[in-house]
Symmetry: C2
């Protein structure tokens, strides 16, 4: 009788956790879309898309509050231990990272609005586009690794963050040079640097998600394992 | 007998939670020190202090991992519900914010090292010093509010964040003007903007801590309550 009861509770727990993870993936999809739209708005000077990004931000915040509530409630009701508890804790951590990625996407959209008043530069934001492509791939891989609990891909995300940092530093050097040569375009360069910084931070958050995959699967905390961060 | 047992467990829980909160406050004190030292290093072009900040960062990371472990373990062992669970969840959220503040302090220290090669500017970083003073007060008030579960002070921290954002935007405008006028000093201005940005982010994290105080005391989620963030 006791074991039937236990099984019953455990099944309910699994169902609820699966629902939470599904909702988290939905939030992840929305976040990816926000990053993509914000960067598209910036690259094409598209004011309308930039404003859409700002409108969608409220939905992301609601996702965060709802998901956090569900996590606290599943812990309180089901009282998971060991691996089950780690699974919920990982979700709670990832929620925070996704919400912060949403904030960064909104910052990029705001920079897109500032830049849109100027002509599109000759290089069509070449370095920024490169960073954007890599960050989008990294974020997608991180979410995929989280959904499948795929340690190998999670490790790859953690490693890939260093490439983002390198490209970001290249962009900053490029902007500093440009500001020196064309003082009248300083404001544009500053906006572009802020946007690139936001992308670099999104890379950091994707890396965090990769680390939570490993924490969840192996119960091992790989944060602060000596990988350097950029300034 | 059952009630004696319950009381016993509850006392153990209270003791463990008190230890966790004490450790969190210790981490908070170290984080405050890091912010102060990083800004002092920047303002006085003091390379030695800047390097100390970078050395201490590793200790903060260890705090984060240890505290997170203790929180997961207290949930697994004691299975708290309602207010008790909220208390642990709040601690887990604050740990993340403190760790990120530590990261920002390290970024400021890195900028301090970049700036130290130049003469101290005439205005002796006046706007930056102003932001630093306000952020330090805000962070101190946030930690104090968390220690005492003081909602009134927590609300004040949330309100004060807007002042930081205003001062930060003033500094950015100042730097943009300076870069336009003195193209050969662009790199200095960029470093100062990054450092100020880090301070502004520290203000955001202090605000988050204020919000977790309210969440813990009132069980009410005040995040995303419509307060605007700066770019």
């Amino acid at each position: 009788m006791a074991s039937v009861m236990t099984k019953h509770i455990s099944e309910q727990y699994d169902t609820e956790l699966a629902q939470i993870r599904e909702l988290l993936m939905e939030m992840g999809g929305l976040v990816e879309q926000q990053v993509n739209n914000a960067c598209t708005a910036l690259i094409n000077h598209d004011v309308q898309i930039a404003e859409e990004v700002r409108d969608v931000e409220a939905r992301l915040n609601q996702f965060e509050v709802d998901l956090d509530d569900r996590c606290v409630s599943i812990i309180a009701k089901r009282q998971p231990t060991a691996g089950d508890l780690r699974a919920v804790v990982s979700v709670m951590k990832v929620i925070t990272d996704l919400e912060r990625i949403g904030d960064e996407a909104e910052r990029i959209a705001r920079m897109a609005l500032t830049l849109a008043d100027n002509p599109i530069p000759e290089d069509q934001y070449a370095i920024f586009r490169g960073i954007h492509n890599n960050v989008v791939k990294m974020l997608n891989r991180a979410l995929d690794a989280f959904a499948r609990l795929d340690v190998e891909n999670a490790l790859r995300v953690i490693r890939d963050d260093a490439d983002i940092d390198r490209a970001y530093n290249e962009l900053v050097r490029h902007c500093i040079g440009k500001m020196r040569d064309q003082p009248d375009e300083v404001e544009m360069s500053v906006s572009l640097m802020w946007a690139a910084r936001a992308l670099e931070r999104i890379g950091d958050h994707a890396k965090n998600i990769g680390e939570y995959v490993i924490y969840q699967v192996k119960g091992q905390d790989v944060r602060h394992s000596g990988i350097e961060r950029p300034n």
